[in-house]
């Protein structure tokens, strides 16, 4: 009985089910942080061992050894080698896969040689019978001089035995496996060698050490580990014959991707609509319930709208990460890495770049974090730099609204229509520019970095629900918190900028507009706007009548419109006031200041404002346009004030020509496809590349490409 917490470190090779065991031990009581100064996830959790005893479990990164050849391994060494380290364990748990026991024991011998009580967990016990494996546990415990627990994380057996073994850690021997004299030199015993030797010398020492450790392991297993080779099933080999086939392998991967994206769009449309309506209703309710004023406006138009803009992406992002997690858990993703390596290498990347590039279709932030397992710095850097070109969820609403505006919805061929084809084209163009820039970077970047590629192909297995679910939650959380805080902050800043005036025209907007209309009547554009309101009202009347099976005479319609006329006129005036206010707000001033620069691309100052705010995060484009077109015009009529309708009727102030034409629409689409408009991504790139140099290069380069593409498109199409 003790009230101190036992510190446990979980160690093991990748693909041994170490994370499954961690999830079983800690459940939802886990958190992911960062080790100070480096970008390696630090996963910790708490576990109740008995009624009175708790343990803190540290899930060290999955590594093959403690040889310090990667950041992950260095972390493990720092923790295990230094009794003063805050994470130094009372007991280590090394997780191994029963089918790979020999290889998995390498790291076990290294940990045990540090005089830490080390429990050996042999996982995947359910595979022993089908594979014809038998282990003489007491014999092996004697040979390795430690406590062994056999578990199956799939069937959840043996988990309580692990807890008991941890509780009794004090009875475990701390004798080393291999006496230090057997090594000429030993980096485990003498970690200072890691820095004092040259790379070549160090490798020799570690090679020698590995050979001796394998001799010890072979001797230990000789008497206790038996495998009946005839029983080894060949389902795995058969699967690999199909999935890694020279032609079918690629075909299957392509079809799988297509299917995944199809399903994501289908599944996420319902929850997204629901979220959209809920936040809309919430904003309306806030405005209706709270007393009118600055604070209510900020809450409804700034904060609630900003939060809605984050939450709406969760379905798409969660679904994509669900599929990626399933592909990774099942072991299939490693085969994709194998298949794609040669192709990706032509573009200066690695087969391992495929996962970040696919994840980029959800959100670049977790995607860039997923580049950490690419060994070569050059390949990793290129992957980081080009991932934001991949069409992420945040671009989709921008695309959707622009496509609806400028692309006709006619059908071509049988099942395609122009709008769908345009969207697909934008995906293709994003991917193409990613590859093209990767190729250019590959040819121009002069970075010497050893490019090696050693990937374990784990066994295929049915993914564990718990592992998949926790991964999805973890990645989605990354998006919500990393991107969310910036998007929310920007939404509030935007609202403030739009509500602060810079001159008299802002403060006296009411008077100016009312006087001008009293004197001159409505101008042409205002008349059109009034007409539109009448037409829309008439349509809604007719719709209502047909719903309730009433007949509607022309007389009825005219009377109704005449009744509503003063309301319509007032609405037009209010819109005019709102527009004048916005034009003279701080935000309007910024938009006007950059108008000369974006005029050649076909944009006016209002789009300019949206572009500026998009540099914080793309999806803010819609929110900004909503703000620009609806700030002040409260009491929306049902459908008349949707953004698309507003944008459609938007004209250039001086010429009266439409703002959103085919040319300016395509120009904007291309601009959004290529521009680096996501502050959250820049922040992550800064963290992952350790400085501002690369995110700045990325920002400037992508903006130039976007500007040029937009310019060419507009000038050719107008």
């Amino acid at each position: 009985m003790s009230d101190t917490v036992i510190q446990v470190a979980l160690i093991g090779n990748p693909n041994t089910g170490k994370t499954s065991l961690f999830n079983h031990l800690t459940g939802l009581n886990q958190k992911v942080g960062n080790y100070p100064g480096i970008t390696v996830d630090k996963k910790t959790g708490t576990c109740k061992l008995s009624k009175t005893q708790k343990a803190t479990i540290l899930d060290l990164p999955g590594t093959y050894s403690l040889n310090a050849s990667s950041a992950d391994e260095k972390i493990a060494i720092d923790v295990l080698n230094d009794p003063n380290n805050e994470n130094y364990p009372d007991v280590a748990v090394v997780v191994t896969d029963v089918e790979q026991l020999k290889r998995n024991l390498l790291i076990f011998t290294q940990v045990k040689d540090l005089h830490i009580p080390t429990i050996l967990v042999i996982n995947m016990a359910d595979r022993m019978k089908p594979k014809g494996i038998t282990i003489d546990i007491p014999q092996l415990e004697a040979d390795l001089n430690t406590k062994i627990v056999v578990i199956s994380s799939k069937l959840q057996t043996g988990i309580s035995d692990v807890k008991e073994a941890i509780l009794a850690y004090k009875s475990i021997s701390t004798e080393v496996c291999i006496p230090a004299e057997r090594f000429k030199q030993n980096t485990i015993k003498n970690p200072e060698l890691l820095t004092s030797l040259t790379a070549a010398e160090l490798k020799k020492v570690q090679h020698h050490e590995t050979v001796i450790r394998y001799q010890f392991i072979n001797n230990s297993l000789k008497n206790s580990y038996k495998i009946d080779k005839e029983k080894a099933s060949d389902l795995q080999t058969k699967l690999d014959r199909i999935f890694t086939h020279k032609i079918f392998g690629y075909l299957i991967f392509g079809l799988l991707l297509l299917l995944i994206f199809q399903v994501i769009f289908e599944w996420s449309s319902v929850p997204m609509e629901f979220i959209d309506e809920t936040f809309g209703a919430l904003a309306d309710w806030t405005k209706a319930t709270l007393p009118a004023g600055m604070f209510t406006d900020l809450l409804a138009e700034g904060i609630i709208a900003g939060l809605g803009g984050i939450v709406i992406f969760i379905p798409q992002i969660a679904f994509l990460f669900l599929f990626i997690a399933i592909l990774e858990e099942s072991g299939y993703m490693s085969r994709v890495v194998f298949l794609m390596d040669k192709i990706m290498r032509r573009f200066g990347m690695s087969g391992k770049s495929v996962v970040p590039l696919i994840s980029g279709a959800a959100c670049a932030i977790p995607a860039i974090m997923a580049t950490r397992n690419i060994e070569s710095w050059k390949e990793r850097l290129i992957t980081i730099l080009v991932t934001p070109f991949i069409t992420c969820s945040a671009r989709l609403p921008v695309y959707a609204i622009l496509i609806a505006l400028v692309i006709p919805s006619e059908r071509v061929f049988w099942i395609f229509n122009w709008q769908g084809l345009t969207l697909m084209g934008l995906y293709v163009i994003g991917f193409a520019i990613a590859l093209l820039s990767a190729y250019i970077l590959h040819k121009t970047l002069k970075i010497e970095s050893k490019s090696y590629f050693v990937v374990e192909m784990p066994k295929y297995k049915v993914p564990l629900f718990k592992n998949v679910a926790l991964t999805v939650i973890e990645k989605t959380k990354t998006f919500v918190f990393e991107a969310g805080k910036i998007i929310l902050a920007i939404s509030i800043i935007l609202w403030v900028l739009a509500s602060v005036g810079v001159n008299d025209a802002f403060t006296n907007a009411d008077k100016i507009v009312t006087t001008s209309i009293e004197e001159n009547g409505f101008n042409e554009i205002q008349e059109v706007s009034l007409q539109n309101k009448m037409i829309r009202f008439e349509e809604s009347l007719k719709e209502e009548a047909s719903k309730s099976n009433k007949t509607l005479t022309a007389q009825d319609v005219n009377t109704a419109i005449a009744e509503k006329m003063p309301e319509f006129r007032q609405a037009v005036i209010e819109d005019e006031i709102a527009a004048l206010k916005l034009e003279n707000s701080a935000l309007g001033t910024i938009g006007k200041a950059i108008e000369p620069a974006i005029k050649p691309l076909g944009y006016d100052w209002k789009i300019g404002i949206a572009l500026v705010s998009s540099f914080a995060a793309r999806e803010v484009f819609i929110g900004t346009l909503a703000t620009i077109y609806s700030v002040g015009s409260e009491g929306d009529d049902e459908e008349g004030n949707t953004i698309i309708a507003k944008m459609q009727s938007e004209v250039h102030a001086n010429s009266g020509k439409k703002v959103f034409t085919f040319a300016s629409g395509i120009s904007l689409l291309l601009f959004y496809a290529f521009a680096m408009q996501c502050m959250s991504t820049l922040a992550i790139v800064k963290r992952e590349t350790n400085g501002w140099k690369w995110p700045m290069i990325q920002l400037i380069g992508m903006t130039i490409i976007a500007y040029v593409a937009g310019l060419i498109a507009f000038q050719f199409l107008k």
Partner: protein, 74 residues
């Protein structure tokens, strides 16, 4: 001398030797050591990586790495 890159799909061999300096340590840790058995399971288009079974583990390595590991066919 033969290397892993000379193997045909499905062929087995025994690892003899390799230059310590250029072979990734990770491969050594995974059991790529003289005396161990290696099988070439699968190849890819355009001389891409090779899918090997070494010491019971499935490992993919690039062809240039495989071409440095000397073997004796079994």
């Amino acid at each position: 001398m033969l290397t892993i890159a000379n193997l045909q799909k499905g062929e087995k061999a025994k690892i003899l030797d390799f230059p310590i300096d250029t072979i990734p340590l990770k491969l050594i840790e995974m059991g790529c050591l003289p005396g161990n058995e290696v099988t070439l399971v699968q190849t890819t288009l355009f001389n891409g990586p090779l899918f090997l079974t070494i010491n019971g583990s499935n490992i993919a390595v690039r062809k240039d790495t495989a071409a440095q590991i000397f073997i004796e066919k079994l």
